[in-house]
């Protein structure tokens, strides 16, 4: 629907509107995740390394002097070192409209975006359609400092796994989330960019645990277990919970020339259901390219 809206805007553009720019970006790197299965129980948590690869390609259509539409195809993949059932490929189409409120580097920008795509996972039970929409507002304060605030709605439409409890649904990967957050960038030196951000997720997330811990989940979360399915990837079950997640991230990015950079990132996520707490640390090291 959002994309149709964008297209409508594009067709109602003035005669001078035209395609003005290309988008071509790629990146590759490694990730370490200390709680790949998002388990609340230390004895269940599985860590792993993964090789990551991603790319984006598309075009920019200038609607007015201050407003442009971009249509982008996105590719994202990961190859786990050990847990190959978690290998995944995402393909996504994204449309976004960026409006700049005036001329100059320091005027605020509003971006509204929507995307749809599909994710293939090594464990095919987890294959899902992915939908997302949201907006962000960016403001540069000085050539060294900028910040953004954002809102995002995500919807994952997955299949159902094998039933564990007949009275509870098994559509674990049907999930809905709202996210709000803020991030800031600080240019430490000409080439070194320090970024930090915070995101609050409200909605649903899934967790996997061994059979031995399933009872503890029901003891502590009770009705908050919205779905549960047999999942052999981690030797037990995967379940869906309602709750919220605090996410804090920090990135250090070193630019090499105009088109390349090396990025080191760290992310901490703490999910909280009714009682259980889910903690995950993720570290990445990647090389990025933009044409």
């Amino acid at each position: 629907m959002l994309t149709l809206g964008f297209a409508g805007l594009a067709f109602s553009a003035p005669a001078s509107a035209e395609w003005v720019d290309w988008i071509a970006e790629a990146g590759t790197g490694f990730e370490y995740n200390d709680n790949l299965n998002v388990s609340a129980f230390r004895d269940d948590q599985e860590s792993d390394y993964a090789w990551l690869a991603a790319g984006r390609g598309g075009r920019v259509y200038q609607i007015t002097d201050d407003t442009r539409l971009s249509l982008v195809g996105e590719f994202e993949s990961r190859k786990q070192f050990d847990w190959e059932d978690f290998d995944r490929v995402k393909l996504r189409a994204r449309a976004s409209i960026l409006h700049k409120f005036g001329v100059g580097p320091n005027v605020p920008r509003l971006r509204v975006h929507g995307s749809g795509g599909y994710m293939w996972v090594g464990d095919s039970d987890r294959n899902s359609w992915l939908w997302e929409t949201g907006f962000d507002v960016t403001k540069r304060f000085t050539p060294r400092i900028d910040a953004l605030v954002f809102f995002k709605y995500t919807n994952r439409d997955g299949g159902s796994g094998d039933v564990v409890v007949p009275t509870i649904q098994s559509n674990v990967w049907d999930q809905e989330n709202f996210q709000v957050g803020a991030a800031g960038n600080f240019l430490v030196w000409e080439n070194l960019l320090l970024s930090a951000g915070y995101t609050y997720h409200h909605g649903e997330f899934d967790s996997s645990c061994t059979v031995g811990n399933v009872g503890k989940v029901f003891d502590r979360e009770g009705d908050n277990v919205k779905a549960i399915a047999v999942n052999n990837v981690f030797g037990g079950c995967t379940y869906r919970l309602g709750g919220h997640v605090h996410q804090a991230s920090v990135n250090l990015n070193y630019g090499i020339g105009d088109r390349w950079s090396v990025d080191a990132g760290y992310k901490f996520l703490q999910g909280k259901a009714d009682v259980l707490i889910y903690r995950t640390n993720v570290a990445t090291l990647s090389v990025l390219f933009r044409y």
Partner: protein, 202 residues
């Protein structure tokens, strides 16, 4: 015959004096040559060029620093296959050339002395400077920190550079050359290289 010979010699002398160049070298506090510094004589009449270009190539302004005499018109040819949006908010010249490809029909007249900072409303990292001089005697240093001011052999030489800190040093030139030392400060512009957050301008 003697008068003719004397007149000829005098004419050659005058001509060589008139076409003499003043060589100016600009270095920073640590002795390294400073490129893109504008060196100019404090006074002088006459006119130099009346029109020049500042190109846009691979999403950058070329050259980074341009020196012109007051009253010069500048064209902004866009050699990229995409559009640029040139603007300046500087007191010496406020103007805007909204999104365009190729060369705009009308050049921009720079009729007030001072420094004009150029930006692009699409690509935040694009930045360039125009130094509008009140004199025809000026030049911009090359990568060796050297510039030649044509048609001048002496006078009070001043310097300006985008990264110059404090007061502009001025020095009397004699013997056809002069060395200037400037203190540099850090200047910042939005970075062009990709970051994990992606390019918000897109």
């Amino acid at each position: 015959m003697l008068r003719i010979a004397f007149s000829g010699a005098l004419a050659i002398l005058l001509a060589s004096a008139a076409s003499a160049d003043l060589t100016v070298t600009v270095r920073n506090g640590s002795g390294s040559p400073v490129a893109d510094a504008v060196v100019y004589l404090a006074d002088g009449g006459g006119r130099s060029s009346t029109q020049t270009n500042i190109d846009q190539i691979d999403k950058e302004y070329v050259p980074y620093v341009t020196a012109v005499q007051k009253g010069t018109k500048i064209n902004f040819p866009n050699h990229d296959r995409i559009r640029h949006h040139v603007y300046s908010f500087s007191e010496a010249k406020t103007f805007e050339i909204p999104l365009y490809k190729g060369t705009p029909a009308e050049p921009i007249l720079f009729d007030k002395p001072g420094v004009v900072v150029l930006g692009c409303n699409i690509h935040d990292w694009m930045k360039a400077y125009v130094f509008v001089a009140d004199t025809p005697h000026f030049a911009v240093t090359d990568s060796s920190g050297t510039a030649r001011i044509a048609g001048a052999s002496g006078g009070q030489v001043s310097v300006w550079h985008p990264r110059m800190a404090g007061q502009a040093p001025a020095k009397a030139a004699s013997g056809g050359s002069v060395d200037l030392v400037i203190e540099e400060k850090r200047t910042w512009r939005p970075r062009r290289a990709p970051s994990a957050g992606g390019a918000t301008y897109r």
